[in-house]
């Protein structure tokens, strides 16, 4: 009995430090990950590097990559930082022998065998705690245990922020139904890279900040198919700050997002829809040229060909009566106002922020298939495809990186999306000729929802 107790005690004594070390290591690696990936700034700010790089540009991941794979840019080779690579000889030089040797590379620019590293590698004046956090993370960067928030061994959690009440409640519900159907397809096939896709939903009426706060304990990896007003203050800045990508957003934006943003839209931005209308109206053979669209910044009326721009909330009926019938182009959101006011004899062109397939009447057995449902489904399919192409080893910008180099992709018949380094909206504007208006004109197009 005494002997057993002694053995147990010695076992506990032996395990204790290891157990504690493992827990500490986990917490340290988490802090190290934040420094490496640029989610947290080095304490000394721009003084952390001898080059005095702006602190947000001093993160290791900016050159060595989010998974430590290294690479080459501007003719400069950037070595890999994965433990497996550091522990191997490279280019005729010996392996890094231990943590101390790795730390000398980071702080003193002494590389393998003590050789000086290229001047592009900043010399970091790390604080003690920062070094203690970075080293354990460098042992796991690029391995299967190096996971961004919202990703576990067997699941990836995604979030949707859509209106769940008020006048747009049906729209939000249709989007969520489409998203769930799309992810159910993927999960029925076994998920993506062995991970099930889970969807969490928050109400857009409470704001994006509130949604992120609600997920704080159990973060999501990315947002998908969210719908809110572009006017919602600072939503994009908030996502950028949280390093949270938003894939296939349904936000109707004036200008397309830029490549450095964390959002990739599904719908064509309003500015491009207006450009398409200008082109369509330039071909008008006779009469007035009139374009109706929401949003500010209608193109300046420079040439004689340029259309006259009106807002849908203006007195369209009075304006239209003053003009000889000609050609009129309008956006989907303006369609109800235009069609209620349009006299006979106008040649109409509608511009859509998406392919016509989104609006086609529901096929038999597809009762729930409103346009918003189809857009939700498209958002889920695109996200599934991006997760698949990104591979099992994910990082915060992995899905956006795939978009940068993705060729055109057909999400379902008639629904192609196109992204690239300079293009962050999936659908191109589509011009739909609607023929000449009859009196009290009327092909009734309803916005879905």
């Amino acid at each position: 009995m005494k002997r057993l107790a002694a053995i147990l005690l010695s076992l506990l004594a032996a395990c204790g430090p290891f157990g504690a070390a493992a827990a500490d290591d986990e917490a340290l690696a988490g802090r190290g990950r934040a420094l490496y990936q640029g989610h947290a700034a080095f304490a000394r700010g721009s003084e952390v590097t001898a080059l005095r790089l702006p602190v947000e540009m001093a993160a290791c991941a900016r050159c060595h990559g989010a998974t430590g794979a290294g690479g080459r840019e501007g003719g400069q080779p950037v070595p890999p930082l994965r433990a497996a690579a550091l522990r191997q000889p490279r280019d005729g030089r010996p392996a890094f022998s231990d943590d101390a040797a790795v730390l000398r590379a980071i702080t003193q620019g002494r590389g393998r065998g003590g050789a000086a590293l290229a001047p592009a590698m900043p010399r970091y004046a790390l604080q003690v705690g920062e070094a203690q956090a970075l080293l354990p993370y460098l042992r796991r960067v690029g391995t299967d245990t190096d996971r961004p928030p919202g990703v576990s061994d067997g699941a990836v959690r995604l979030g949707a922020v859509v209106p769940l009440g008020g006048p747009a409640a049906a729209t939000g519900a249709a989007i969520v139904a489409g998203l769930r159907a799309g992810f159910a397809e993927a999960n029925a096939r076994g998920g993506v890279h062995g991970r099930r896709i889970e969807l969490q939903v928050q109400d857009a009426r409470a704001g994006v900040r509130q949604a992120l706060a609600a997920w704080q304990g159990e973060p999501v990896y990315a947002l998908v198919g969210g719908l809110w007003s572009e006017a919602q203050e600072g939503a994009d800045a908030l996502l950028a700050q949280a390093h949270l990508p938003h894939i296939a957003t349904l936000v109707v934006r004036e200008q397309p997002p830029r490549a450095a943003d964390w959002s990739a839209d599904l719908l064509a931005p309003v500015a491009l829809q207006r450009d398409a209308l200008v082109q369509a109206l330039a071909a008008c053979p006779a009469g007035a040229r009139l374009a109706v669209a929401h949003g500010e910044g209608a193109p300046a009326t420079a040439s004689a060909d340029a259309p006259r721009w009106l807002a849908p909330q203006s007195d369209l009926r009075a304006a239209l009566r003053q003009m000889p019938p000609g050609c009129i182009g309008y956006t989907l959101a303006s369609a109800p106002a235009v069609q209620a006011a349009l006299p006979a004899g106008w040649t109409q062109t509608l511009v859509l922020p998406m392919p016509a397939a989104v609006l086609e009447s529901a096929a038999a057995g597809e009762r729930a298939a409103t346009p918003w449902y189809r857009l939700g489904l498209a958002a889920a399919r695109l996200t599934t495809e991006l997760l698949s192409r990104a591979g099992r080893q994910l990082h915060e910008r992995a899905l956006l990186d795939v978009l940068d180099r993705m060729p055109e992709l057909e999400l379902s018949p008639g629904l192609p999306v196109h992204y690239g380094r300079q293009r962050r909206h999936g659908f191109s504007p589509l011009l739909v000729p609607l023929g000449v208006s009859a009196d009290a004109a009327t092909p009734t197009l309803r916005q879905g929802g």
Partner: protein, 188 residues
């Protein structure tokens, strides 16, 4: 004596490593500077040939570049500070940083980038960051051997020279002392 010889060899090796020699001796090290119409960071019109009427350091960058551009920009800032503090044989040198991504780099994007590095730009500060129309910029890229069309493929070379003289090339990450030596040679 032996030691001095070894040091000299070492110095030559370093210079060789960091300063890619001009393509060859003679005409091939001449650059015909196109008189491109460019815009500076303030949106002001500039003509490239006029800017190169004195020894210049020409580098290429873009504000969306995450890897090699930030250290390059930081090292050019160090060079500017060194030249301002002690022009030693290389007075009046002008730095010209030219974008390879005109679409992503209008003057306001360049100003925002410069603010992050706390750069002092302008003719009086001896450093301009230049953008402009893609067609005009293409003439400049071609003249300086910068691959056209893919910003990520841009080289990290600096060109040191002037409109009338010879040019020499150096890695953008060349130590400041070596760059100052090279500039002295260009200015001579």
């Amino acid at each position: 004596m032996r030691r001095r010889g070894a040091l000299a060899t070492l110095g030559a090796a370093c210079a060789g490593g960091w300063a890619a020699p001009a393509r060859a001796q003679g005409d091939s090290s001449r650059v015909t500077v196109p008189d491109a119409r460019l815009l500076d960071q303030a949106g002001g019109a500039q003509r490239l040939r006029a800017l190169c009427d004195r020894p210049v350091v020409v580098g290429f960058f873009y504000t969306g570049c995450s890897t090699v551009c930030p250290p390059q920009t930081a090292m050019l800032r160090a060079l500017r500070q060194r030249l301002d503090a002690a022009p030693r044989g290389a007075p009046g040198v002008r730095l010209l940083s030219i974008t390879v991504d005109p679409l992503g780099d209008p003057p306001e994007a360049i100003r925002a980038y410069a603010r992050r590095f706390e750069l002092r730009l302008g003719l009086d500060a001896g450093w301009l960051m230049l953008t402009g129309d893609a067609a005009e910029l293409r003439r400049v890229w071609t003249a300086f051997g910068v691959p056209v069309g893919d910003p990520e493929a841009h080289s990290s070379l600096l060109w040191l020279g002037s409109a009338r003289g010879r040019w020499t090339r150096a890695s953008a990450l060349t130590p400041t002392d070596t760059l100052v030596d090279l500039l002295r040679g260009v200015a001579a």
